[in-house]
Symmetry: D2
Subunit: 178 residues, 4 copies
């Protein structure tokens, strides 16, 4: 039988980078959707794994990343979707959730073989992570209202690529854990 | 100083897979362009590295893959762009040219830090390879008339992703080694 | 249920490197033992996978490596243990059988979870491969009379390391496939 | 010119695992030597990178690991060698400091090409890390009085393997940053 994890990508964010305005516009409707999805997943005992960029802060840990993100004017995009005491946390340095991180090892240890990918950026980290998950033979589900983008056109293409070429199921959040 | 290699992806192909008809239509104009590019690169002493799927044939080697591809009705798409005696050859099992192959090691050994990516499929292996090259800090150049696609819309999006998000230079073949 | 493969490491060899004399002395009694073991494994339908260094020959394939090895004065160490028509073949560039090779992918595709490691050099590639197999959660068996060494003292220590720290079973070849 | 980092492996430890008694006996004389070495490295501005097992605690971060280690009866083995405010920190899940961690990426970003390996266990993580560093073409230095072991015989063999087969320089701590 298949075991699923909910993956939350790069939502612990200070939103002070280039293109942040575009990303914020897309993230705002995503946050309440993801909040609901997190609630349903937690209610079912589904493991929730945050995989987040360390933003080059090799001295920091996830508690500090979270504090910093909550201290910005964009805290309302972070607070509702933050990790709880049961959440697992993996720091990444760059792009894909699998690139030079222990995520693959963690998933194998926990017998997880299906990933629901949420967070940002659809046409970047989410796309790259879907590819790396597919290459490693994980089943991939992407609720398209729970991922945020910078460029709408590339995000749409990314979702089509995941569906056509990476065997992903693209769906709506309300279809999951109902 | 930068050292460049010309990478030829998955052009040793029997074209008998799903979607082959669409790919062949796109590959036909690519083959003469790539043939010229190969000629110019070889004339300048640029290393040419073929990275090719093994199509699940773990008993085969690249000589056999080539023989098989030359025995199909699509040999005219293979013959002009086949390896010569100086070409290097790396077999891959899946998707990206870097995934579980010795390519990264080979490039480091030869001091190569810039890759010209050619071949197929633009919105699949070429895109994934551009990403994996960018993550590993290689400079990437993609001559857009030397890559072939299955889906035109996804190919265009893939080229935009490479340019915007992977720092790639997308150009025309005639701009290279002139 | 567990599925086992017999792995033959670096036995396609010209024996013209540094320390070759010491290695040859150790390989001579190993070759007939390995020949018998190969026979029994093949008789039972056990997959046999050769993983062999390419010796920096990025233009070559395994057929050429074999031809070259059979053309040396040490052909008697190669001929009896060479691949047959059913053998699988993976080229490696360096050290471990897993480092930047598609072996892990091949093993997963074939559902193999237990490896019998044979070949050379006990305290180098065999040790490193046992470690990389253990990290990836494969069961490892090392028949100690089917592996050859350069330095006796390091080989003995390597076998103890595999047993104590890598969960390997060190045994005699006659215990396998009897 | 070469840039060096001092790597401290698995010294943030609760020493409550199997074989801890043997390890403690070996770690006790190592701690003051490593404390001095850390002092000299910090005085010269050498980057100090702690790479530490997460002990399966995927919810924890390095601050919590440190707190837990300082709360044990073995705090005297941890306190003198703990990270300072400038130390970098990489969590690992298993064995080698490179296996599924962002260390390689961090080292490349900082232009570091030479590693001084210290900590524990000589014949396990230190050995495996020396191998993985050598495969990736880093220069490796191992001050033998700044590494602790469980099994003396295997530790001696491990140091010989690093020297003979992994191109490592095995030395005394007093030779470094004098």
């Amino acid at each position: 039988m298949s075991k699923t994890a909910l993956i939350v990508i790069d939502m612990i964010n200070t939103y002070d980078h280039k293109d942040a305005d575009q990303l914020i516009r897309s993230a705002e409707p995503v946050v309440p959707v993801l909040t609901d999805l997190l609630g349903r997943a937690r209610g079912r005992g589904v493991p929730v794994i945050y995989v987040n960029d360390n933003f080059g802060e090799w001295r920091s840990h996830h508690g500090e990343l979270l504090e910093r993100a909550l201290a910005t004017p964009h805290a309302h995009l972070v607070q509702p979707v933050k990790p709880d005491a049961d959440s697992l946390f993996v720091l990444k340095a760059r792009h894909s959730i699998f690139f030079e991180t222990p995520l693959h090892y963690l998933l194998q240890q926990q017998g997880i073989d299906r990933l629901v990918l949420t967070g940002q950026v659809t046409e970047q980290c989410v796309l790259y992570s879907a590819l790396d998950a597919h290459i490693r033979h994980f089943d991939v589900i992407v609720p398209q209202d729970a991922v945020a983008h910078i460029h709408e056109d590339l995000a749409q293409a990314a979702l089509r690529m995941m569906e056509r070429n990476m065997g992903a199921r693209v769906c709506e959040s309300r279809e999951l854990w109902v």
